[in-house]
Symmetry: C2
Amino acid sequence: MDLIAVVVAVTDHAPSVLTVGPANALPSGPFELGHRSLQFGLRTWVEQQTGHQLGYIEQLYTFADRDRIGEERQQRVISISYLALTRAEHAAGSAKRAWRSWYDYFPWEDHRSGAPSLISGILQPRLLAWANGAGQDVERRERLQRAAIAFGFDGRDWNEELVLQRYELLYEAALVEEATRASEQGGSILISGTSMIADHRRILATGIARLRSKIKYRPVVFELMPPVFTLLKLQRTVEALSGRLLHKPNFRRLVEQQDLVEETGETTADTVGRPAKLFRFRHAVLDERVAAGTKLPLSRA
Amino acid sequence: MDLIAVVVAVTDHAPSVLTVGPANALPSGPFELGHRSLQFGLRTWVEQQTGHQLGYIEQLYTFADRDRIGEERQQRVISISYLALTRAEHAAGSAKRAWRSWYDYFPWEDHRSGAPSLISGILQPRLLAWANGAGQDVERRERLQRAAIAFGFDGRDWNEELVLQRYELLYEAALVEEATRASEQGGSILISGTSMIADHRRILATGIARLRSKIKYRPVVFELMPPVFTLLKLQRTVEALSGRLLHKPNFRRLVEQQDLVEETGETTADTVGRPAKLFRFRHAVLDERVAAGTKLPLSRA
DNA sequence: TTCAATTATGCTCCAAGTGAGTATAATAGA
DNA sequence: TCTATTATACTCACTTGGAGCATAATTGAA
């Protein structure tokens, strides 16, 4: 039984993921008898292994691949993956681990300067070719539609939450390195981002998708912020995570009217332009607020 | 390694969960080597065990309790829980299993006829007593706030998604039978709903919460509907799941403007009053639509 | 000293979405 | 024929979210 962690921090406009070893791998370790619980086990050895105190931890997914068979005992290896949020400063240095921007692994996911040319230049034509290579006509149309929805072709909106769907499409179309491992044909077209060992990039995609979704209805961003920050810093962090730019006045309105932060009374001094007020997270909201957001047409009756 | 299933169907205004054995238990079984994947394993033996074809399946949570220790080998038992949706008619009869309304287990969750008197009559005073029994004043206030948010005290809105939080509060306050098992004091006040073996009621609460949340942004209700239905039937199903009443005109508007259904051309004949048009689910939406719902103040720039 | 550049902050507008109520249509049964 | 009952359509007010503009406060260069 393995525990695998997607540990995320945001440093200077780059959303980073913690990797270990020379190859690109997510930190992982066995679940041991001494551990009080799964979460506690994860917390323990991530701190041992990387010197990182984890703040927010959330379970992602449990899987048991066919490939993942233990050697001696005839037993399937189960992997339980987690998403963890922390701040990069929390760590002491070590040669074995490194922070790396998650856009190294998913370059098509960063739309802060518009849609990357990688998409229209390379991914789109190859995905279309893959779709048209389908045997049946129904299958062909289905592939075209999936690609169009996931990547926003044909004038569709970009949906930043579809990280996993996009990765899976590229995998099926053999446009990521992992897809060509099993077959003997070997590295045909290694265009799309840095790959990781085993299925770690897929797990990372799951984590990013979960985080991009979660920041919209739970105040988890603050786990990635220093104790005191400006509203623009907060905005830049959300932008780094979601991979898109936000409308400044509306972002402030959203944050303020939800009472997520309070002024410290101080202002920044080190920047150009008008000094910004400094804020801190109102920890009380963690108790007060609960994910509201009903989409059902309720009746008061 | 165990797989545990929360199998849900809706029959005649009652949201039902599939239980097995004389005691109240969720169907569960071991994950075996022959199984292609976890989901496949679950599907296989639920069908064997209960004769039920499962439609939609979704992983809930994986846990490894301290209590859950295997006998011979010194190894922790891992449980992976799933939410599965089906239709009650899909099954052949069997003495070993039974459908049971989930409001038998959580009577405080059904608000279709207003807030149950159980809440204000029994739960609220006992929860307040429990909160006031806290040692420290901070702890006391925290308990009061948690209870108020979860159950909608002090004029707060009822949030139907907080199923798990409510169950956990009642557990902490020793108002459900499960809480008194470990201690020797034994059955003090078994007021709150039918209990289940081990932690199955907690898993059921997780499943209900997930489903109540999911119906708001994904068209999963249709997994519980017959192929053809009226809009009112559909509404009643959603109401059964969410435990609250919906506004009829607005519910129709929501369903229609999202193009979730299409007319069959037929109408009902067997009912009183004006015959209703019959609809079927537009399966195409599963491909077309993707959970939209952005809450970030995006910028087109 | 003045002005341009830059960042911060506050405000308005408009369109879409959502809660709520009302009106009309079509059936069965008294 | 009238009444009860269910279905269906429409209107209205209010909130929310995207977008743009105006003003404030600072730094640094002309």
